[in-house]
Symmetry: D2
Subunit: 394 residues, 4 copies
């Protein structure tokens, strides 16, 4: 990967970025900023960093922003930045879920590219509106399903696409955590509070927070679209208002079947995202906590350990690797790769240059797909765990 701004240096320099949310005390905002900075293709120049004006301004000072570009609201920011000749070209939306769609809408309408955290919105209807708006405005719209940025996830996708596993039969994906095994939302955890609050998170708890990541990852790697699902959502912790465990059966087009488990109460797991895919002639397995290795087996042959950028690396993985095999890359690098892919698209939009055909990032359509997944899972579970169609995403 050209891991720095060099290409951009010849095509107009770093991308001017704004941010909504992510002020003092937030977590994911800092992750997005590091991701934007890591490959030196963005420069953060404006922010509506908190819904609390005082905090918004203090946060802007902390980050060294021009005070004139520290806004009280995303609406003010969209309006003002759209008028500046040096206004932001793209915005990162890193608020709790309920603000995603309103903010994204404002920036799209202001002609500004959007990078939005997941899940895309509170409802499928909102998500459909965003898809329509994105199409109308032609702006770039990325949703940060960041796990798709891991090099070996890219390689897994390429291997499946190239037929290395044969026709797919089975998908096993899981994402266990344990941080909500007790009632953390009553103990002062801001993260726990809003993620278990339907008003801010939407109809899904665990399903929206991490179930969507698992679902998205499986779809990304297999290239398969799920046709229907049968879900059982459970709230194990008494008094909690949203699900904290998700068990799902999936049926993919072409006959493959899947199981998806996501949990926030599985004691002993931090972020145990794991994907296994099995086809007629091969199987592979990747675990997010050790992302620099992937196990691959051809039927009848010994299991292989493929390493990021090591022996057996495919070009799709090497392209998004920054350092040689054996020196681990992690979560921030994968997140940065999403930002890097979006940067490539923005520069292409600036200059009319072609985009690298291997470039890919999750789009607003993927965000809509995730929302359909959430709504179908909630509906299936409420109906007594029955098969429920996942309406096509177009």
């Amino acid at each position: 990967m050209t891991i720095e701004a060099s290409r951009d240096a010849h095509t107009g320099g770093r991308i001017r970025l704004g941010m909504v949310g992510g002020g003092q005390g937030a977590f994911i905002g800092a992750v997005h900023r590091i991701a934007a900075r890591l490959d030196d293709r963005y420069t953060l120049v404006a922010g509506a960093l908190s819904s609390d004006p005082a905090r918004a301004h203090a946060s802007a000072v902390d980050l060294g922003l021009d005070p004139a570009r520290a806004y009280d609201s995303f609406a003010a920011m969209a309006e003002a930045e759209a008028k500046r000749p040096d206004g932001i070209e793209a915005v990162s939306i890193v608020t709790p879920n309920h603000m995603h769609a309103p903010a994204a809408k404002a920036f799209l309408e202001a002609g500004i590219h959007v990078i939005c955290d997941k899940p895309l919105s509170l409802t499928v209807a909102e998500a459909e509106e965003l898809v329509a708006l994105q199409r109308r405005t032609g702006r770039i719209f990325a949703v940060t399903h960041n796990y798709t940025g891991y090099p070996l996830v890219r390689q897994a996708r390429a291997m499946v696409a190239a037929g290395e596993l044969g026709k797919l039969r089975l998908v096993q994906v899981e994402y266990p955590q344990d941080w909500l095994a007790e009632r953390a939302e009553e103990s002062g955890s801001k993260q726990a509070e809003w993620r278990t609050d339907p008003a801010r998170s939407g109809a899904g708890g665990c399903i929206g927070d991490i179930g969507t990541h698992a679902y998205n990852l499986a779809g990304f790697v297999t290239g398969l679209r799920a046709r229907s699902l049968l879900a059982d959502l459970t709230t194990f912790v008494e008094g909690r208002r949203l699900d904290d465990d998700v068990q799902i059966l999936l049926r993919y087009e072409g006959g493959a079947k899947g199981m998806l488990w996501a949990s926030q109460v599985a004691v002993g797991h931090e972020n145990g995202l794991k994907l296994r895919v099995y086809g007629e002639t091969g199987g592979l397995e990747w675990v997010q906590a050790e992302p620099n290795r992937m196990e691959f087996t051809r039927l009848g042959q010994p299991r292989q350990i493929l390493t990021r950028n090591g022996a057996g690396a495919w070009d799709e993985a090497t392209r998004v690797s920054r350092i040689p095999g054996g020196h681990p890359e992690g979560y921030l690098e994968a997140f940065a790769t999403i930002y890097g892919e979006v940067a490539g698209a923005i520069v292409a939009a600036r200059t009319g240059a072609a985009v690298d055909p291997q470039a890919t990032f999750p789009t607003v359509e993927d965000g809509l797909d995730g929302m359909r997944f959430i709504e179908a899972a909630v509906a299936s579970s409420r109906a007594g765990n029955v098969w429920t169609d996942l309406a096509p995403s177009n």
Copy 2:
């Protein structure tokens, strides 16, 4: 563990054992014989080792049996041995599934203890008959769900029972294999032939062969009874007559929920039996391929690696360990432990002595439970993946 016959030496010596099935070319028969021999508590003295008389006799010669006690049929063996003063006290039934019930019935009626491979029978009705007959005759009846013999499986069960995990919430159990990823039943594999033949295996393929093991193991460790299941059985390999993949949701008494996956087409897995159990305050994980370690986490504390007979070993594990930690025991030792537990029961029956309260082995009721699991899964799947009750096993 007193790993040898010493106790028996004082209570009448080694147990006289017969075997049905397990002649030349069979696999599991040799496993049972090693298991019986390992702790020196049995002596094999009679056999109906094959349904083919010539092979039965040749096999008996190979094993050094008295030719007079090499029988052409289990019926002849049951009859003759029952009459001998030195007749067998117990019989191991290691035939394909369809012969289990008829043979077991014959030996029970002849007053001989039974050790029978799983699944117990072809149908629930047969299994119920065997339960009734066992009760009437009072003979010992073990079903070789051998994974329950692993020391750390014993410890896991004890830890759950002692409340180390708190109230249970989740059970994740899986048993992936890949040996039937292609149509091995057409390529001369005897194992594949009968295991995919409904006449010899019953209504379940993968579900009966390995799904039952996974189900039994989960029940053994958690001490929970499953109330209902929702199953999706699939035959991925074209032309195959039984399922080769099983996806199941489980609901346990007390509110715990489970997922069970068993597959014979998951490329890259040999015998990937893995159990994970999560409660309110702890979680544990055990993998059959590396049975001498188990991972255990108390909520909020670092994950621990418990080893067989090492630091952190419980008495329930040490009791059935033969060698110190760090020197691995395996499948044959676990199988031998089942035989050892049955031997203890037989000697107790001989002498009226008390049985060790920690002793345990899977019984005919567990076998019936397994048959109910198979039938419910097949019924659920045929009905379109709907919740199906597991009738209580008593």
Copy 3:
């Protein structure tokens, strides 16, 4: 593997075995008995099970031996058994080290095959005598370097011999334990007492107990003879009379170099025997605690996980496997394989039949080689860690 006595059934039946040592309270004796029994090729018929006559007899009763064949001393046993028409054909010597040579000598002279625990003797001189005596008597003499019985160790050896790694460059072998991290010899551990007592263990503590195993394993797999070593033996636990940690540099014929570390004070290790071998074109790694897998890399290709009796298994491993891949075999099975190989040799000696060319077991020469290793290491360490020749085992 023909895992049972079938071949023997046609060639004179099970081998009549005696045992020296291994009575009540001993550990390794039971291991040898299980190993002898597992494949059903031996029958234990006599014993001098303890140097304490009362315990010797009680132990014999426990094991169901004919009281007439429970001896007070190995000398009495050798003399008496040699005269019986049904006398023992082989003896297992499982005493503390200082008794190995005297007992072995007595049985060789009585014309009885010997299976002796390691290290072979207290001194090189004793070992050389045994080699000479074995040659003169022509009896079979095995030394139980049991790790050489693991199927994947056999495969590793075969792969090296076949050139799969190219010319060898490096050997890294280690055997860390922690059971002597404190002064266990003062706390009533019989094992700790004699293993730290020069009178019973010889000049080496850790070096003799486990260092020899590591050295033997490296030699077995690589097929290389060590020319010289440079050793640093340390006693970390105050008051201990023998070394409890061993650091050694090795130079092999042909230019390969090695490092060997054995320790009884490495907190966190049970029996962490691990061997790594690197050649010009390949490298492999095997760990005793997980003996059913081995990692192998061809230069420039992904690392492979070879499994016992699974995909990628070589005939040398399959030959000594009892069950399919994915069902773990362990320490006792490896130990039993040594007994099985010796059984094959004894039957060949009985009948004049050819021995399987793949059969192999550690011999008295290997035992002598181990004694030379111990003495050279002790000498090198005492001389200030200087290069010391390992006299050729000619």
Copy 4:
């Protein structure tokens, strides 16, 4: 960790950084730039990026530097930048080894802080000069032994210091690679060329490139100073001019003993840096390829898996973690932590503010210590593998 420039925002903003080396085609330069950028505490403003003027300038354009601050030589850069009111405050030296000392000297003399790649110099004499010069100038001088930036390495050090392992006995450290298993220096690899060239690398090959890292890491974690070593350096690949394999015995003050192995020909290893430390009451193990976990055992208790920023994390690790446990951080983050620590020191130098007492980074003294290690190892090996003192770094 305050992972961004916020503190600096109140104390004079980002640090103005220059770079020597690291132009087009180089590897480590980009790593340093990412490391400097990741936490947003530096801004790269000047460079002498190549010894080839044309490449130096083209590289500067790629990186978006002001062409006026793209220099042909480090000397010109030091001179010019020292005169600018907005001149660089610190310089990163990322050239081949032979340029480290001359460049570092020039910048120190110009009053500019130095961040220098390792090994520090070509000779101990040069290193001693640098130490003296650093003392005289009072400038900050960091040497990028980057592995000390990993959070769990920090925790390991803190645990040892707190006595969690008891008095230390043993250190086992290794760093195997395989990228020089063949004669890559003849195949056009620039990296291989200069790293095997004594004129550019110094007297050590493998010992200087990675042996020093292993040595530094062991010293950092244990807090022990090595008194002497006994080394065997080997060149396995014919025609190579420097060692490609290193075997070393170490003696630490206080009686601990160590083994160090580094290799560039160990087939199957990418960057297999692994450290194990054993004390009287505890042991720990950390592997660079999976840096987000560390295994720790208290004597007599089960092994624990400590995770970065998870349960069991110490403040010393959390302080330098950017994201929660379960989301892996890697090599670049650890490298960035070194830059972050240096930034803290530079800001403290600017403002007179106190430095965080937990802050630490490898200094010029550590660099000198590394050079003494290299020279002693080369001397020991040439003298026939004899104990050689490591002169105190006083």
